[in-house]
Symmetry: C2
Subunit: 147 residues, 2 copies
Amino acid sequence: MKVINNTFDTLLEKHRLKKTAPRYRVLEILTTRDVATSQPYLEELLGAEVDRVTLYRILKTFEEKGIIHKIIDVNGTANYAVCHSTCTEKKHHDEHVHFNCTSCNGIYCFNENHIAKIRLPKGFKTSSVSLIITGICAKCSTEAANS
Amino acid sequence: MKVINNTFDTLLEKHRLKKTAPRYRVLEILTTRDVATSQPYLEELLGAEVDRVTLYRILKTFEEKGIIHKIIDVNGTANYAVCHSTCTEKKHHDEHVHFNCTSCNGIYCFNENHIAKIRLPKGFKTSSVSLIITGICAKCSTEAANS
DNA sequence: TTAAGTGCAAAATCTTTGCAAATGT
DNA sequence: ACATTTGCAAAGATTTTGCACTTAA
């Protein structure tokens, strides 16, 4: 496979990862969708194209490299979304609000909402914060209203 | 088994649940510990006393009845804590801040911290909010300092 | 007595590991 | 050519289901 100078190539090169078909497919899906994608749904979309084990490994590598980040939803299922540019291998900047729609199961990343600082008891040290709102998204609300 | 008029009996009776040894054991553990307890750790504590399948079923029933609530931690593991009195079968009032210590894996419920209202885009409807802070708890920080 | 709850066995999933073959550089 | 990455098979872990036995009410 040889695709010259597209975004995925740049991304993979930056992290010294080989440009393989399975990795392109995963990036394609994750960048196309505007919401985070659950691992089960990724499997479904990839079908026989990519082995399930390979998907596990790709997601793991991508997360370690800071290319994508993982959001565990209220059911304990892993969801993945591409990180914005400030993520590195050392630290993920995913401390924005996530919205988990219980109707379509989509996870929205609300980058504009920052999480208010929480005062903790003495001795507690924060390393990261995760805020997930569960509810019905705008798309599903209007669909329900028009039916 | 016959224990008269203790807290557990009242609780189980209230929800029309039979008073069985396994249920007592689970309640005992969850009420004794001041942090939420992960399902794997519950299994460990119960050992051969309670079958693993029975534990699954007890936790499910208790959650449905509003006796305990489930907190999914950053690893996707289920943790359980007894609800405070305002929880019902219909609605869990667990919208306080949870703190997940990465050293001891304990989950603390900070009931005093309420979560600031988040402004969502038009059309998004909130049903519940979950805020989990990951870090090192006070106990583990001091232990680390003294070693 | 009898409906609810438990324990065991077994199925169904989900996740990880090992290794040989394939592929990108 | 060589280190990575993939796919398959198989092991391990987690979660669910079915059913006969037990127990609380």
